[in-house]
């Protein structure tokens, strides 16, 4: 190809970015010389999850652009620069900073702006909108000196904004003009329930309030005066009264516009100029603006298909059904939520105790679903949506779809009945056939499905349904989902855990004779040993248990490649006295051990022969050290920064918390290793978000992050709960760890455990925080038992002459293994290579 087509993308929001990703996916990106303009100072970020920015005020949490995306694809990105002119005759766009780029095709993705009604006083200081990170920064700054905040607008975004204000510790009010919250999406009954739930969370809701004037307040910055004569004083006002398309550039360029704004587009998202496409919230299709991410993405795809001629998708309107979590409350709206279809029927289920409201709207013959509203529990959203989108016939007595099942059986949709084309994940546009194809290509768990199809990674509303399709497909392929632990036990690890717990089994012989076959193996034995330890916490090399242990647990050290072991004493939180540090140095010197500082803030001593271990540990134990369990599938370390005691930025004593936690959970055996960290402020020097359990200090307590890990597939931990006090924090960790120990598979890190859990993070919160399964006190008491029975495994061992006999290399000789040979490198020992050993032998 001699010359590339010059493509200018105006707007770098989520939809503009989705267009670029789709262009890359089409395989034709190379045919284009792409220039992107974004007005904001940052590349595309996920506006849908704007509230999560408040947790850390870290843009990377919501950044949408993968590393090197622009550079790798040779896209030119001008951020912080707004296009001010399109010259359609010279075919040149000009930016505010004076950049001029000639074009062949333009993608207009300028989005929308928040509508601020011209209420007198709306231009006062401390009045904001809620759209960009810059808006959020302004709100955050203003909140520092404010006590009260009010949001004008009780729609979806308004409630998001209210959550933000509440997170900033403001007394929060929501002012809505209509008689109910989310008036467009939900009906009266749903609105009532939503209002109740949101008020329970401490937000005051005022409906049917028409703000007429904003003036100086007596006790606060502003006084809002309403049409009904009432007043409200507040320090901050956030307008969230709807959006309007950002169409001024298009208007000035002379493109065809709608009567009330918006750039008119056809099914290919082409404007009145066949070289200019418009997508997202600036585009007007069939006289409608679509203010959701999924239709925006669909428009982007239609534009890519038409532009590159690589597909034939058209934008023909979009379903505006939506499911979201507002301030922790599940809210979903499907189709004709208000029941406006002539002759339709509706069925309603209201549960005041659980604060759940569910309504379905069906056709007059009860055969087809037309709409639904779900408040408080939106578990049925996925299946209801499929019934509607695919016009599938409903079961007789369709009310069963929203009634709680008495016998625990699912009344949901049979996934077999779904057509292959059914879109399961509308955010990422993943169809049933996409999921099936992924399974056929080898993805056989949810984690794999997520990474190869991106399904469930948007709003997450489709998780249950995607899981069902996955399992159904695996079953169909005859991939028997064999969850047996190994050939000796036709049980999962979770089953074995329950069996051991309930039947109080304490030996492997008992376990295998009553629930398994054969002798056991190197899979089931250590698994059983780990469960025994989690349940009964007896010494790992107790006579009845030591034969089950992997060599690392048996020798209470990590076997290295040459058969020697490493010695890692516990240094809780990484805090160590000079005296103890000297002891480590002296031991290393005396036994000639290779010495290294670990990533977990302690010292690793390598090259100890098995027979040296007791002597080494005797010295260490006498100096006050304990075993560090570096060898166990158990708590490793709690990494920490110095926190408020030394650091000028620290807001809590992270050091003391780390030591407390490390001492609390040391010795806890689990399905895989557990790592923790505590940071004393939001700068996060302890890297807590890369841990199974991370804790970050806030002004008000501790933010708790769960299920992160480093290693081969790094994963950031998810925020689980915010601003916890010490007692609540520890209670949640107790429950979470015990729940993990109870339900995870063998060698399953917490991240994979959670990713494979139906309902994921939200389910975990329901179990741990809200005690949905009614097991919290049981989990806590199980943890208490483990903590109360802690012993330093090495201390007990060196006190027992019988156990010490086991550390000699030979049963019949005191000789040493002559194959362990070291050489010197950088003034320390290292195992000699085979070639080096040969030379030594010859000499």
């Amino acid at each position: 190809m001699s010359t590339k087509i010059k493509l200018v993308v105006i707007g770098n929001g989520p939809v503009g970015h989705h267009f670029l990703e789709s262009l890359v996916t089409s395989g034709k990106a190379n045919n284009y010389q792409v220039t992107v303009f974004g007005e904001e100072p940052l590349p595309a970020y996920d506006r849908v999850h704007l509230t999560s920015w408040f947790k850390n005020q870290d843009v990377s949490d919501i950044n949408m652009v993968s590393n090197g995306f622009y550079a790798n694809n040779h896209f030119t990105l001008h951020i912080g620069d707004k296009v001010t002119q399109i010259d359609r005759f010279k075919k040149i766009v000009t930016s505010e900073n004076g950049v001029e780029v000639s074009y062949d095709k333009i993608i207009l993705a300028t989005g929308s702006f928040p509508f601020v009604p011209p209420v007198p006083g709306h231009q006062r200081d401390n009045i904001f909108v809620y759209r960009t990170i810059a808006d959020l920064e302004k709100i955050t700054a203003a909140a520092k000196t404010a006590k009260v905040g009010a949001v004008i607008g009780g729609g979806l975004l308004g409630l998001e904004a209210a959550k933000a204000l509440q997170d900033l510790n403001l007394t929060t009010h929501v002012i809505e003009f209509a008689p109910r919250l989310m008036a467009v999406q939900i009906d009266d009954g749903g609105g009532k329930m939503l209002r109740k739930k949101i008020q329970d969370l401490g937000v005051s809701v005022h409906t049917q309030k028409n703000t007429q004037n904003i003036s100086d307040g007596d006790n606060a910055v502003h006084k809002m005066s309403f049409a009904d004569g009432e007043e409200l004083e507040t320090d901050i006002i956030v307008f969230s009264a709807g959006i309007r398309p950002r169409d001024e550039l298009a208007r000035q360029t002379g493109l065809g516009m709608g009567a009330r704004g918006g750039v008119v587009v056809n099914n290919h998202c082409l404007t009145s100029d066949t070289d200019i496409y418009a997508i997202g919230e600036v585009a007007l299709w069939d006289n409608k603006i679509y203010g959701l991410i999924a239709p925006g993405n669909a428009m982007a795809q239609a534009a890519v298909d038409h532009l590159t001629q690589t597909g034939d998708s058209e934008f023909t309107g979009a379903d505006m059904s939506t499911k979201l979590k507002l301030m922790g409350v599940d809210v979903a709206s499907i189709g004709d939520a208000h029941g406006t279809t002539p002759n339709c029927r509706s069925y309603t289920y209201v549960n005041d105790r659980e604060e759940v409201y569910k309504k379905i709207v069906v056709s007059s013959d009860d055969k087809y679903l037309l709409g639904a509203v779900l408040i408080g529990d939106a578990a049925e959203y996925g299946s209801l949506l499929q019934f509607m989108l695919n016009k599938m016939e409903l079961p007789s007595e369709p009310e069963g779809l929203i009634l709680p099942s008495v016998d625990g059986s699912s009344t949901g949709i049979g996934v077999d009945a779904l057509p292959d084309s059914a879109v399961l994940c509308s955010c990422m546009n993943v169809s049933k056939s996409d999921v099936i194809a992924a399974v056929q290509a080898g993805a056989n768990d949810m984690a794999a499905i997520k990474s190869c199809t991106k399904a469930t990674t948007g709003c997450g509303g489709c998780t249950a349904l995607v899981t069902q399709v996955l399992n159904n497909e695996l079953e169909k392929q005859g991939v028997e989902v064999n969850t047996d632990l190994c050939q000796h036990f036709a049980h999962t690890r979770q089953d074995l855990y329950n069996i051991i717990r309930v039947e109080k089994i304490k030996t492997f012989a008992e376990l295998i004779s009553s629930h398994g076959t054969g002798l056991g193996c190197d899979i089931c034995k250590p698994t059983a040993a780990s469960i025994f330890a989690s349940c009964w916490n007896e010494h790992v090399i107790d006579n009845k248990l030591h034969g089950l242990q992997d060599t690392n647990d048996y020798y209470m050290g990590n076997m290295q490649k040459d058969g020697t072991y490493s010695v890692v004493p516990r240094v809780a939180g990484g805090e160590i006295t000079p005296e103890k540090l000297i002891v480590l140095g002296e031991v290393a010197k005396e036994f000639n051990l290779y010495t290294k500082i670990t990533g977990g803030q302690r010292v690793d001593l390598f090259g100890a022969r098995s027979e040296q271990l007791p002597a080494i540990w005797k010295i260490l134990v006498e100096a006050g050290f304990e075993t560090g369990h570096a060898y166990g599938k158990s708590l490793r370390t709690v990494k920490s920064c110095v926190g408020s005691t030394w650091c000028r930025y620290g807001v809590q004593d992270s050091m003391a918390m780390a030591i407390l936690l490390e001492n609390r959970y040391k010795g806890l055996r689990s399905p895989h290793k557990l790592k923790m960290a505590v940071s004393g402020c939001t700068r996060e020097c302890a890297e807590a978000q890369s841990k199974d359990l991370g804790i970050i200090a806030t002004e008000n307590g501790w933010n708790m992050y769960v299920c992160g890990n480093g290693g081969m597939k790094p994963r950031h931990a998810d925020l689980f709960a915010a601003d916890l006090d010490d007692v609540t924090l520890i209670k949640y960790i107790d429950r979470l760890f015990m729940f993990y120990i109870r339900t995870a598979d063998r060698l399953q890190r917490t991240s994979v455990w959670m990713d494979n859990m139906a309902g994921g993070l939200e389910y975990l919160k329901a179990v741990i925080i809200n005690d949905k399964l009614n097991i919290a006190s049981e989990l806590e008491s199980e943890m208490t038992n483990v903590i109360d029975t802690y012993q330093c495994e090495w201390k007990t061992t060196i006190e027992d002459p019988e156990k010490l006999k086991r550390f000699t290399h030979f049963v019949n000789s005191q000789a040493q293994d002559d194959n362990i040979i070291f050489t010197t490198e950088r003034q320390q020992i290292r195992p000699a290579l085979a070639s080096e050993k040969l030379i030594m032998e010859v000499n």
Partner: protein, 151 residues
């Protein structure tokens, strides 16, 4: 105490049995390592395993302690068990399984540990000196590519 098995006691020729240790020195369903030499051989490390079935039946096995995959003397520290009815030990470093009665590696047919005749004489574990004549396998090297756990 139940009968012990031996691998080559049919031979009527006089076998010199070397006393290694007491049976009680070996924990049931575990291994230990013996240092063994006769006049003509360099001292050799032999992994000895004591397998006791749920019914109490005792079996003794002896194979090389040297693991050709890791080139370290560690076989005796592996976890024992059975795979498809074969009694095996799993190498503690890279987890290959070796059949105890033959030394055969399950995952790699080209690798076999030497195995040795062993018996229980009263309460004493004895190894047949003659079985030591097999060549030691120290030179053999194999790629340790079996499932390595994430560190």
């Amino acid at each position: 105490m139940a009968q012990s098995t031996t691998n080559s006691t049919k031979n009527t020729a006089k076998i010199n049995w070397l006393s290694i240790c007491q049976l009680d020195d070996i924990v049931p369903n575990m291994g230990c390592c013996a240092l063994v030499s006769n006049a003509s051989n360099k001292a050799r490390q032999i992994a000895i395993f004591r397998i006791v079935s749920l019914q109490g039946e005792e079996q003794l096995f002896a194979v090389d302690n040297y693991c050709p995959f890791s080139q370290a003397n560690i076989i005796s520290r592996g976890i024992v068990g059975d795979l498809n009815d074969k009694i095996v030990v799993a190498s503690p470093l890279y987890k290959q399984h070796f059949e105890l009665s033959s030394g055969q590696c399950i995952e790699d047919k080209s690798v076999r540990l030497n195995n040795y005749a062993i018996r229980l004489n009263g309460s004493t574990v004895e190894l047949a000196l003659s079985s030591l004549t097999a060549a030691p396998k120290q030179e053999q090297q194999k790629n340790p590519q079996l499932k390595q756990e994430e560190k």
